[in-house]
Amino acid sequence: MMQTKAFQAQSLDNRSPDLLRLAGSLDELRGPAREQTYSAMADISSLGETLFSQDGVRLVAKGGSAVLQVVPKERDEAGRLAPIICWVETGASDAAAAGDADAVWASVLRFSEAIGRSYTDTTRSAVYGALDVFKKKNRRSRPSKATRASPARGRWTDWLAFRWILAIMRIFKKPM
């Protein structure tokens, strides 16, 4: 299950305070909750891996967390692109929810409409592409059911490595 946690955007006049809102209620975050949210998103952005970067959409993921940057049609007063950032999380469930990307996109639209931003169809398609890559990557990085069900497999490889080290040690132990 993929869900949005928070949204961030910079004002178009570059003077008003930046926006950092909860995904559900779209309430502006304040105080320690705001600091923690920003810090968590900054952590994903600076330590994560860029999984997708195309058509004004970039997705950086760190484990099951990702920051999705989407560039709307509107620009700031200096003529710069003015992206919004969406914090996306995937749950532990293996069940591939077909409507995940739809729910994330609907959430992005709700925030964007509230602050007066809109997107092209190309951007919309790119968002779906980015979320698909994120979902697949996350599924791959989680251990499969088969691996989880056979801990003996891990022990076997450990045993092989141990035997290999012993064999090397024996070579060095032999008298000259």
Binding site: R34, L81, I171, F172
Partner: protein, 221 residues
């Protein structure tokens, strides 16, 4: 062949195989080591829309971005060896940080790792209160460090100032003194020592090269 030679050749072969297997991480570690010994980390800070991303991109690859974009979250910037004529500077990797207040913790983290702190001001939107607050904050962080970073103030967007554009090089010193007195004195006067102030532009490669050359000169003095 004697047994001890066999063992030594075997060990060397094993190490060679291990080095080949782990070559990427060994190269990365050596690179890090070289950069750590020789390089300096730069922190580029300042309000929104002052040119932080443009300066970092220019420092990283000598190019001015074709499209400009607001920076909302920290982004990593790779290290680079800069060479402008005889002036050379090895820069470690750093982070491009947003100018909004939410990023203040990230500012401090980067400041505390930096050898050079570059504080940027947009000449078209000078906000004395914000500049005073930021410079006072930077000095507070700097004083808390055993080896404080070197601070330089860079005023960007000067290409949009007609008086600056028309001033001949011979009169630039006087122009800069007047500009600083009128626009930045409130912030600079609060500091225990005045940092170098550079005026310039990042509008194109020629102007950016000129600005960075003066910057390297000021930092390596």
């Amino acid at each position: 062949m004697r047994l001890d030679k066999v063992i030594w050749f075997g060990a060397a072969g094993l190490l060679g195989a291990l080095a080949y297997w782990k070559r990427d991480s060994i190269i990365a570690t050596l690179d890090q080591l070289v950069i750590r010994l020789a390089g300096k980390r730069v922190a580029v800070l300042g309000e929104r829309h002052v040119g932080k991303t443009v300066l970092l991109k220019f420092l990283a690859d000598g190019e001015i971005p074709s499209e400009y974009m607001q920076t909302l979250l920290p982004e990593n910037v790779a290290g680079k060896r800069l060479a402008f004529g005889d002036l050379k500077l090895d820069l470690k990797g750093t982070r491009d940080l947003p100018g909004g207040h939410d990023a203040i913790t990230e500012w401090k983290k980067l400041h505390d790792e930096a050898d050079y702190v570059l504080y940027l001001v947009n000449a078209q939107r000078v906000d004395p209160r914000r500049i005073t607050r930021d410079l006072t904050q930077l000095e507070g962080w700097s004083n808390a460090r055993k080896s404080p970073p070197k601070l330089a103030v860079i005023v960007t967007h000067m290409d949009l100032n007609p008086a600056y554009v028309q001033t001949p090089p011979s009169a630039m010193g006087d122009f800069r003194d007047r500009f600083v007195k009128m626009n930045l004195d409130a912030g600079l006067s609060k500091l225990s020592s005045r940092p170098p102030v550079l005026l310039g532009s990042l509008a194109d490669k020629t102007q950016a090269t000129k600005l960075v050359t003066s910057l390297i000169g000021a930092l390596t003095q």
